[in-house]
């Protein structure tokens, strides 16, 4: 059990781009959009049964016709010397009631993705996910970049609209990347493969909503296409973004006005280390977060 490839092309100098679903599906939307845009061909898959419960059964006229599992598929695209291998995981393999993968299965899956990366001699891996940030939904999300080696920092610093963890106030260069989008970075490091995780910012008050956040996917796509040196139509996600923003705005108007007033102040927040006092003090930030949290808690209890 493990990997099943449907073809074995000779790839030149490839980079692997991987993503699984997560908060706002930011990473997976960015990666899958790019895959579709480039018309990548199917390469193979990770056999699902070790990792997933089936997602759909089809019974027709009393006969079980098919049973579908969440897909974990590889694709490839020749791009003239800088070929790309995509990996799209439809679900993270979870154990028990956890949302994100962890433990043996997650490690095993990360290992299998790396096996394919090494088989095709991928020189780098990009993963992508979400960064929950104290930003407003009308502002352009930035991309938090986490490399798995110090030698990649200068390159990452050159990406547009991108910040390192040390640029984010109060973090001191530290943090966590939950689930496989993060774990893959670690497993790549263990195997000596360079990797960078790109995380699009999502407003803290939207993280619990069952909505995708394509505005952040677009930011990730910008950085990714730059890193991969491919031309991508960055406006592809605009239509989806407009639809989602409409729903976000509807939700936003339901928030009590005193909390909304606090959140409105986030429009002025610059989240990188300020050179002079920013529009919101640290104490005010804390208060906003507490109020937002308490609002959602009450909402959840009420319904």
């Amino acid at each position: 059990m493990g990997i099943r490839l449907c073809q074995e092309p000779r790839l030149e100098n490839p980079i692997l781009v991987a993503s699984w679903p997560g908060i706002g599906n930011i990473g997976i939307i960015a990666v899958d959009t790019l895959r579709g845009m480039l018309g990548a061909e199917e390469l193979g898959q990770i056999e699902p049964w070790e990792f997933f419960y089936p997602k759909m059964v089809l019974i027709r006229k009393g006969v079980l016709e098919s049973l579908e599992f969440p897909g974990s598929r590889f694709y490839f695209k020749r791009a003239g010397g800088g070929d790309i291998v995509f990996f799209i995981g439809e679900e993270q393999p979870t154990e028990g009631a956890r949302i994100y993968a962890e433990g043996k299965k997650a490690y095993r899956m990360a290992d299998l993705v790396l096996d394919v990366a090494e088989r095709f001699q991928c020189r780098r891996i990009y993963t992508s996910g979400a960064a929950v940030a104290l930003i407003h939904h009308t502002t352009k999300p930035r991309v938090w970049a986490v490399p798995n080696s110090e030698s990649l920092i200068p390159e990452v610093e050159g990406y547009g609209n991108t910040v390192l963890m040390s640029d984010i106030e109060g973090r001191g260069g530290h943090g966590n990347i939950t689930g496989l989008n993060g774990l893959l970075l670690g497993v790549a490091k263990k195997r000596g493969v360079e990797a960078i995780c790109l995380m699009g910012e999502i407003p803290v008050y939207l993280q619990g909503l069952p909505l995708s956040y394509p505005k952040a996917s677009k930011s990730v796509l910008e950085v990714l296409s730059d890193g991969l040196k491919v031309q991508a139509d960055l406006n592809t996600l605009d239509e989806l973004d407009q639809k989602v923003q409409q729903r976000v705005e509807e939700f936003y108007q339901q928030i009590p006005s005193e909390i909304r007033g606090q959140l409105d102040r986030l429009k002025q927040v610059s989240y990188t280390q300020p050179t002079e006092p920013g529009p919101i003090t640290e104490e005010e930030e804390k208060k906003i977060l507490e109020e937002v949290e308490s609002f959602f808690k009450k909402q959840a209890e009420g319904g």
Partner: protein, 277 residues
Amino acid sequence: MNEGYPVTVYQEPDLQQSCLVLGWREDAANLGRRITDYLNLKLKGQRFAEIEPEVFFPMGGVAIKDNVARFPESKFYVCPDHEMVVLQTDSPLAEWYKFLSSVLDVAERHCRIRELYALGAMISFSAHTSPRQLLGIANSVEMKETLSQYDLNRDVDYQTRPGERPTLNSYLLWLARERNIGAVSLWVPIPFYLAPTEDAQARKRVLSFLNERLRLRIDFCDLDQEIRRQNEQLARARSRFPQVDDYINRLESNLMLSEEENGELIKKMEDVLREGG
């Protein structure tokens, strides 16, 4: 137990071409447990193997049900003289593929299995006075053909609805097909207000099919008596509690009850059936 084969075999059964009947211990009206218990009682089933639980269930303590500590079980029984194996099992909470593969491993390695029948209960919003329909879903067209002479609905169309997942029975049927084992899942609707307790009529519906199909020659007079007793209890509840009678009348007229009314009916029927009418 070895990691790759989490099964303990106590005694090798002497089987040439057997059938496996699988019942889940915790389904509606305890259908799977009650049917497999009944088969084991009538056919003198003897335990010969079990699937070890530690990989498939959280080992963080024990659950208590009806005042008694419970522990997950997956036990195989062989019924002498009938080329039949009964599996009564809890539903695994993890490693489903490995669990179902272990079921099929036992079936193939120790039982030379020919066919598999997986039992399932469906919650129905019909009244208990409606006849219980039996639905059969096969894992191949050939297997479906062999069921043509029996009184069961063989033409079910179904697709998993958004937010839901396939049942373990569907998963098992699919895995059995991968191994060229013919398999059928048998589904019987249980009136929702009997789901927490029992439904003798539904049990008989499934058992009658198995009796005929597997030539078991079971005499059901005890089960018939149980059905009569349960029907009397339900009739008494209707005459004692006009509200219950009204709810059931409406269900008999194909009318839906509100969520609150459903809850009330379930509670009342549970009390009545547990106290013996």
